[in-house]
């Protein structure tokens, strides 16, 4: 009995914030007839994807008890460099590759500083956030860089659809699925949880803690780069000011999705749900046509409420 009981309980627990999401969807559909229209759903999903992809990378970092404040600046760095390369006529494939590698590089610098240098993640990634912004600004001389002709060639990334589903959404889904598989079904993924749970114990279990920590930041950088490339395709310019405050929103998605900032607990599915919650709130408030200032008040309140409902439920079970 006890096992079955545990199981259903775990399932319900897994539902947790997912239940809040469903509640939110029901309410949204009630207050705005347009909400459930296909167009709007597609829209909404595309909007979520941009920061959602970053949030998946952030999930890895936070699960391993880290934090990455530099993602927004990474987006800017990748965006301006790639815009520049595009405008100089470098082949699309090569630019995309360089973009992704740049993201991984920035992440790796974080990883080195934290895993090898022993610098607290908050400080390391804050430093890189500030410095990265400076690099993007210097590189672009403070100006947006247009990708020029290349906009046609990479338009598919930001604007294309496959079977009616926008490419950014597909990319987001792929990132979620890969993230899910890695975390649940690979030794690396379990090591991420182990490191976040108890670093010392993980080390004593023979896990290369430094390597795991390092890798999570590289993954986060990679995800930021993916977002940068999608943005580049959508906006056709690389802005050195792109991605400001993305770190906060991405962390919010992760945390609302139930991942603990103290490491070891959480999942990418949770993050996807967190991203949806944040996305829906903005979308529906815009649909209903509420004054933007009032929107902020309501948005803040709903975020608190959503997590409160979840916290209540979880607690009352104990």
């Amino acid at each position: 009995m006890s096992v079955v009981f545990k199981r259903t309980q775990n399932l319900f627990k897994g539902l947790g914030i997912f239940g809040v999401l469903i509640l939110l969807i029901v309410i949204a559909a009630m207050v705005s007839p347009q909400f459930l229209e296909l167009n709007n759903i597609v829209n909404l999903l595309r909007q979520i994807s941009i920061i959602g992809i970053i949030a998946i990378g952030m999930t890895f970092v936070i699960l391993a008890k880290g934090i990455d404040l530099s993602v927004g600046s990474t987006v800017a760095v990748v965006a301006v460099i790639c815009a520049d390369l595009f405008s100089s006529g470098v082949p699309v494939f090569l630019v995309l590759l360089i973009g992704l590698l740049t993201g991984i590089l920035v992440g790796s610098i974080n990883g080195l500083g934290i895993a090898i240098g022993g610098i607290p993640p908050f400080v390391m990634t804050l430093g890189l956030m500030v410095a990265g912004r400076g690099v993007a600004m210097t590189y672009a001389n403070g100006q947006p860089i247009s990708i020029g002709e290349a906009s046609q060639k990479i338009s598919w990334l930001g604007h294309g659809t496959v079977g009616g589903i926008p490419v950014p959404v597909i990319v987001f889904l792929i990132v979620i699925i890969i993230g899910f598989i890695i975390l649940k079904y690979t030794a690396f993924g379990r090591a991420v949880y182990a490191v976040g749970d108890n670093k010392e114990a993980a080390r004593l279990s023979g896990i290369n803690v430094n390597l795991i920590e390092f890798s999570t930041y590289a993954i986060s950088g990679l995800c930021a780069a993916i977002t940068a490339l999608i943005l580049l395709s959508r906006l056709t310019v690389g802005e050195p000011s792109a991605g400001v405050e993305y770190e906060l929103e991405a962390i919010a998605m992760v945390v609302i999705g139930g991942t603990s900032l103290f490491g070891g607990i959480g999942s990418v599915i949770g993050t996807a749900v967190g991203a949806s919650i944040i996305g829906i709130i903005s979308n529906v408030l815009n649909l209903v046509g509420i004054n933007p200032f009032t929107q902020q008040v309501i948005k803040g309140a709903i975020i608190i409420l959503a997590v409160y409902i979840e916290a209540r439920r979880t607690r009352s079970k104990e």
Binding site: Q34, N43, Q143, P144, S146, A242, E245, N286, Q295
Partner: protein, 297 residues
């Protein structure tokens, strides 16, 4: 499906106007929206008005526009965060047959109408004026807005073109995000760095808030007789400051909210409109400040 224009005697109540503002974190932007809405409320109270806040982020603004379109707006008014970034989405909206009016900042694609002043031109004209005020020579510090924003870029570019070839030297620059406090702190540092008397002749601030912040720092150091402060936008408190002998001059940067609303209604009612509506701007200094007191934002 968009019901293209509508018939002549259509009621206002059938119209839905969407306004995508780049950010509301700035008085100038707020004033634009407010005047727009006020015009509608007074003249077309039944028109439905939808407003979104792009949170100073091009990609958010693109999303906002997508949302507004999916809500079926009959006309889209956009004050773009930056020109290039908003171009593709606006082209898309125009293709769908929804008229688009851009305010303040242009995009690189055809739109129904554009309303606004030209930041670069203001920078340049004001720059020439400032050069004149310091007799074509001396040291100037530029306090810029948010790094990378197009207003910042253009106000800076125009200004630099104006002082090129003069004996004016730009001795320092910094971004103060259009906010008063960072401008004040920066100015304090500059007053340390250039502590010799007459080592600074003027401050060129990209907006009034920053200009006023710099002015406060200068006053606190007791060097207000020595350094002239110039700023852009035209807030009421900036005019008052000019009147009290604080700021040397303010360039009014018209936001065009009211004009945009007028044009939008004309478009909806099927009237012809000009493609471009360039707003006049003024420079307010002690000679003419009285006519402007209380008219600002």
């Amino acid at each position: 499906g968009n019901e293209d224009g509508g018939s002549d005697n259509e009621n206002d109540g059938d119209f839905k106007v969407g306004f995508s503002q780049a950010t509301l974190n700035h008085p100038f932007r707020v004033a634009m929206v407010e005047d727009f809405e006020e015009y509608l409320n007074e003249n077309h109270p039944d028109v439905e008005f939808l407003l979104t806040d792009g949170e100073d982020n091009a990609s958010t603004q693109v999303s906002d526009i997508e949302t507004l379109v999916s809500q079926g707006v009959d006309i889209l008014v956009v004050s773009p965060h930056s020109s290039d970034a908003l171009t593709p989405i606006i082209a898309e909206v125009m293709e769908k047959g929804i008229p688009v009016i851009t305010v303040d900042r242009t995009v690189n694609t055809e739109v129904t109408a554009h309303v606004g002043a030209d930041n670069k031109e203001i920078g340049q004209t004001f720059g020439e004026y400032i050069a004149d005020q310091v007799d074509g020579e001396g040291n100037i510090i530029e306090i810029q807005g948010t790094a990378g924003s197009s207003a910042t870029i253009e106000r800076s570019e125009g200004f630099r073109e104006a002082i090129e070839g003069t004996d004016i030297e730009l001795i320092a620059e910094q971004h103060a995000d259009y906010l008063r406090e960072p401008a004040m702190s920066f100015m304090e540092d500059m007053l340390q760095r250039f502590s010799d008397t007459d080592s600074i002749q003027a401050i060129y601030a990209h907006n009034d808030e920053m200009g006023l912040g710099a002015l406060d720092a200068i006053k606190a150091s007791g060097r207000e007789g020595e350094i002239k402060v110039f700023s852009i936008d035209g807030q009421n408190n900036a005019f008052e400051s000019v009147d009290n002998g604080g700021l040397a001059a303010v360039a009014i940067y018209p936001h065009g909210g009211t004009e945009a609303a007028e044009i939008a209604m004309k478009v909806l009612e099927g009237e012809d409109v000009d493609e471009e509506y360039i707003l006049e701007f003024n420079i307010v200094d002690e000679t003419n400040v009285e006519e402007f007191l209380g008219t600002g934002i």
